[in-house]
């Protein structure tokens, strides 16, 4: 994966072979309450999810949680820090609390400025390494010019060493992802 562009001009128009698109969900007019990436191949080293999301929750913002491989047990935790333009905070859910999902993406919702979709970049590192519990890193949030906006930095844990082959994504508040939302899954080779 390229880090700095000092040599990029030599490669203009030539895609890096280490970064591949795996699958993409684009939400249609009817909305989508959940998204699932199944049968994720184990041919990469890392995964990355990118996209834009807005839900119909009756609030300025919503969230999307992740579950892996259909595990509905109490095997997740996450920590976060965020700013809203007037203050900042940090917190999380310790593994001892053992939630059954991990909140990974923050989205805009129906009370946010019209047309504003939250954005996100989520890295799932070493997703197929069966010697490690799985961790993620998220940059996510939105700025709506007025009203409630957030910038979040989130880290999650799935306390399981299985290779990740399935990612299930849903709002914990029951929000439906709105038309034009998009979640794209990429694979990165080591």
């Amino acid at each position: 994966m390229p880090i700095l562009g000092t040599v990029a001009s030599q490669f203009a128009g030539k895609p890096f072979s280490s970064f591949e698109s795996i699958a993409t969900y684009t939400v249609g007019a009817g909305g989508e309450s959940e998204v699932e990436f199944a049968s994720i191949p184990s041919t990469f080293t890392h995964l990355q999810l990118r996209g834009v999301v807005r839900t119909n929750r009756n609030d300025p913002r919503d969230a999307l949680y992740f579950r892996y491989n259909g595990d509905t047990g109490s095997n997740y935790s996450w920590h976060w820090m965020h700013a809203n333009g007037a203050g900042y905070a940090g917190g999380g859910s310790d593994i001892n609390v053992a939630p059954t999902t991990c909140w990974t993406i923050v989205t805009s919702a129906s009370q946010a400025t019209g047309g504003v979709f939250a954005n996100f970049v989520v890295d799932i590192l070493d997703y197929k390494n069966t010697n490690k519990n799985k961790v993620t890193r998220s940059m996510t949030g939105f700025e709506p010019n007025s009203g409630d906006g957030r910038s979040w930095f989130i880290s999650t844990l799935w306390k399981d060493t299985s290779a990740i082959s399935n990612i299930y994504i849903k709002s914990p508040y029951g929000g439906t992802m709105q038309q034009h939302s998009q979640i794209a899954l990429y694979g990165i080779r080591g």
Binding site: P2, I22, P41, G85, N119, G141, F142, R150, S151
Partner: protein, 168 residues
């Protein structure tokens, strides 16, 4: 299932002399996301890197600033401004001491949504940032201008590279 390689360098600008602004133009809409990587330094110790799209100089931007340094955590909003903050502090002209700023512009060509940006930046003199930027427009982004609001300059040696990512 995988659709093949999809992360492409589009264009790179390397500065041979100090210059007021840099514009990456003629961006095609054939990608899904853009990533702009700036390896930057300024010619003065004040001012901040700023961003505009499509030449729009109106008060159509806002930034939710989240910045940390050795002594301060900042959470500030700049609404109805004429640019997005690409960093919260200057990158002063200290030899061999450059900063980075990385923009993630997801769904930049989607004319159904207003444009939001993740700004991740840092420098040795002044800490790190994770901003959210907003452009009050649904237009597809076809140019990105990086400049300083107080008329300082990008220093020679700064490098700006634009990448495109295409989803399957």
């Amino acid at each position: 299932m995988a659709a093949g390689a999809t992360y492409e360098p589009i264009q790179t600008t390397t500065l041979n002399s100090d210059i007021n602004s840099v514009t990456l133009s003629s961006i095609s809409n054939s990608y899904t996301d853009l990533i702009l990587v700036g390896y930057i330094q300024q010619d003065q110790s004040y001012d901040t890197p700023n961003i505009r799209f499509n030449g729009d100089t109106g008060a159509n931007y806002s930034t939710l600033i989240f910045s940390g340094s050795t002594s301060i955590i900042a959470s500030v909003r700049g609404s109805n401004e004429t640019f997005i903050y690409g960093g919260y502090y200057a990158v002063p002209p200290i030899p061999d001491n450059f900063g980075t700023t990385i923009l993630h512009i997801n769904n930049y060509a989607n004319t159904n949504i207003k444009k939001t940006v993740i700004v991740k930046s840092g420098r040795d003199t002044g800490g790190i940032d994770l901003h959210q930027g907003y452009w009050n427009s649904t237009a597809a982004i076809n140019s990105i201008t990086l400049f300083m609001s107080q008329n300082t300059k990008w220093a020679a040696g700064s490098v700006f590279t634009l990448y495109g990512i295409k989803a399957a």
